[in-house]
């Protein structure tokens, strides 16, 4: 039976199909991106911007505001406000026409080429970019799991955890002990734990000068070690004790109730305890079938394409790519190479050779900034370091201040580059 309403409906449908064959007849290639951090959001923005509407770009990210993990230590030290770390996805949606979906990606069907989300939606893709950051390896710290993260925060994913850790440090009893367990390699932001130690020391120096900081490290050495150790002795004499694996051996047990960490032959008590467990690629990477036994996602160096699945790319911390450190800068750098390659594959645009770079700035105390960085080139095996640099010990105060100011400029620049 044909009534007026169905007739009208089909008439509208017909006129649309005739009026806009480019849209209806030939749908645009679809790129779905999981994860709205420096990797995913940068890729989304460059794909949408450079394809000028030729691509259908969907960004799936559960949070409405992204709180950067980078610079969160500066918030701990009182150099940045919490709000300064937060960035919204509004511009990506309104100005770049990206379909920003605030939902959890919970599954990837590589046969049907679709991503399913917690709310039950499905998003078909021609190319999928997976950029979920890190998750913690269950059981890597005996006695600690996600349920202990209120008493012993990890504060290593940005957002509320870092605010919690700061509140705990500010409320620590006079003369108390801040205890930190650092992660084994590889992990997100290699200088991060040690910059955090510096920023906590800066905070305590004025509020709680008799407090102590003890760092339990499952490693023998760490990033920018000479620079940090020099800074700690210059600014925080006698406050910080770093205990490497040679001294502590293995972590036997963490007790969130007793606020203790037991290592080989010794037990450390803390008033505030920061546990940073071992890391692996964010869980969705595993579900997408792009991770290896080590828990990371191996990729081709030329374009960040997965070595294990067709039509899937992996960016940032989750990727196992070679020499680049897991950092927001690296993820942003990789995203632009990947966006160029994905757009080329889907629209026929020119694909230019990969170029990668990274710099990690760290703040040791007021106006005492240091940096380490490199440029990289792709080889068949990996992304390989081409040239590297690092701040030197004994640099003058003016240069250190300039380095710190440079890091502020970088933060302003990269957050605009990521979020528009």
């Amino acid at each position: 039976m044909i009534n007026r309403r169905t007739f009208l409906g089909s008439a509208v449908g017909t006129s649309l199909a005739i009026g806009a064959p480019a849209v209806i007849g030939k749908s645009r290639p679809r790129v779905v991106i999981i994860g709205g951090g420096p990797g995913g959001a940068t890729a989304a923005r460059y794909l949408a911007k450079d394809s000028k509407g030729e691509l259908d770009v969907t960004l799936i990210e559960p949070s409405r505001m992204y709180y950067t993990c980078f610079f969160s230590n500066l918030y701990l030290g009182g150099f940045q406000s919490f709000d300064q770390l937060g960035h919204s996805y509004r511009t990506l949606a309104s100005q770049y026409g990206i379909n920003v979906v605030h939902d959890w990606a919970v599954g990837v069907d590589t046969d049907k080429k679709s991503v399913s989300t917690a709310s039950g939606a499905r998003f078909g893709y021609d190319k999928l970019i997976v950029a979920p950051g890190i998750d913690f390896v269950e059981g890597s710290v005996p006695g600690w799991d996600a349920s202990a993260q209120t008493r012993m925060p990890h504060a290593y994913k940005g957002g509320t955890q870092i605010a919690l850790l700061k509140a705990q440090i500010e409320n620590m009893r006079q003369g108390g002990t801040f205890l930190m367990l650092t992660p084994p390699n590889p992990y997100r932001c290699p200088p991060g734990p040690y910059e955090r130690v510096s920023m906590v020391a800066h905070l305590l120096k004025s509020r709680n000068p008799s407090a102590k900081i003890i760092v339990l490290d499952p490693k023998s050495k760490f990033s920018k070690q000479a620079l940090f150790e020099e800074g700690w002795s210059n600014h925080y004499q006698g406050m910080i004790e770093w205990l490497p694996v040679e001294i502590i051996g293995k972590v036997q047990r963490v007790d969130p109730q007793a606020m203790e960490i037991e290592v080989d032959g010794d037990t450390f008590k803390g008033d505030v305890i920061n546990i940073i467990p071992a890391m692996k690629a964010g869980r969705i990477a595993e579900m997408a079938g792009v991770t290896n036994e080590a828990g990371w996602a191996p990729v081709h160096a030329a374009d960040m394409r997965s070595r294990l699945q067709d039509d899937i790319y992996v960016l940032g911390d989750a990727a196992e790519q070679g020499d680049m450190p897991k950092s927001g800068f690296s993820a942003n750098s990789q995203a632009k190479v990947c966006a160029n390659a994905v757009r080329g594959a889907l629209t026929g645009s020119k694909i230019f050779p990969a170029r990668y770079s990274n710099t990690c700035w760290s703040l040791i105390d007021t106006d005492d900034g240091v940096k380490v960085g490199a440029t990289y080139t792709p080889t068949d095996e990996k992304i390989a370091t081409a040239d590297s640099f690092i701040s030197k010990t004994g640099e003058d105060a003016a240069l250190r201040k300039k380095t710190y100011e440079e890091s502020l400029g970088w933060y302003a620049g990269i957050t605009k580059d990521i979020f528009g």
């Binding site: 750098s333 230019f352 770079s357 710099t359 440029t375 040239d387 440079e406 502020l408 605009k416 580059d417």
Partner: protein, 244 residues
């Protein structure tokens, strides 16, 4: 490295600018006790001035930049140098009689966008009155007499083949994405200079200087070291295009 070198190095050679400022500067430099203060203010002014010239040409002999040259600034109607793509508000203000002098420059530097809403000039307000004073005094002093300040760039000469190379702007756009991690696309300068709108030759000269490590920022040495001639030329032609 950029350093400023006044053309006339003679002691006490600084001529006093007009008006209130002249009075102030003459008074200050007149007192022995105030001598140290003036020197400090000069130094501060020169320091702040370096930021101006990341966008403004120093004089008519300087290479063309994003912003109009700063010589003959005092007494000039706003938005009046031919050939510059001024903000609409700046042109209007000039037509309505805004002339650059100590007062108007002070108001501009204190709150650029409050003073001229819609102004494109991407600078942060200079909150400290003494900083604004130091900068304006410096501008007045170096441009007042004996011709404009000469800027000496210690950059090594660029090989002719690099200067002559025609760059591919599409490649440049891709390469520039690496720059935009730190150098902001809208030309805002914050701890890191703006590079958008740089004249082609200037960009090539600076990148060449970093590549041969004649300039000393380690990040830039590394980035420039990874760029071949073709890449530098492509970037130069992309960044120089209006609207980039």
């Amino acid at each position: 490295m950029i350093r400023t070198r006044p053309r006339n190095k003679g002691f006490g050679r600084v001529a006093c600018p007009k008006g209130l400022l002249r009075l102030l500067i003459c008074l200050l430099s007149g007192g022995l006790l105030m001598g140290a203060f003036t020197a400090r203010a000069d130094e501060r002014g020169a320091q702040l001035f370096v930021q101006c010239i990341s966008c403004h040409a120093v004089d008519q002999n300087d290479e063309q930049r994003h912003g109009p040259p700063l010589h003959r600034l005092f007494g000039r109607p706003a938005g009046s140098v031919p050939g510059y793509n001024y903000s609409e508000i700046l042109r209007q203000a000039g037509n309505q009689g805004l002339v650059w002098d100590e007062q108007s420059l002070d108001a501009l530097l204190a709150d650029p966008r409050g003073y001229l809403p819609g102004l494109r000039m991407a600078i942060d307000p200079i909150d400290e009155p003494s900083d604004r004073h130091a900068l304006i005094s410096y501008l007045a002093a170096v441009y007042a007499d004996g011709g404009p300040t000469v800027f000496v760039h210690d950059d090594p000469p660029v090989p002719d083949r690099l200067l002559a190379l025609e760059g591919d702007p599409e490649y440049g756009a891709y390469l520039a994405s690496e720059c935009l991690t730190c150098h902001q696309a809208d030309g805002t300068r914050a701890g890191i200079p703006a590079i958008i709108g740089w004249a082609r030759q200037r960009f090539i000269r600076v990148m060449h200087a970093y590549r041969v490590k004649a300039r000393d920022n380690s990040v830039m040495q590394s980035i420039a070291g990874a760029l071949g001639d073709e890449e530098i030329a492509a970037l130069a032609s992309y960044l120089a295009r209006p609207g980039q």
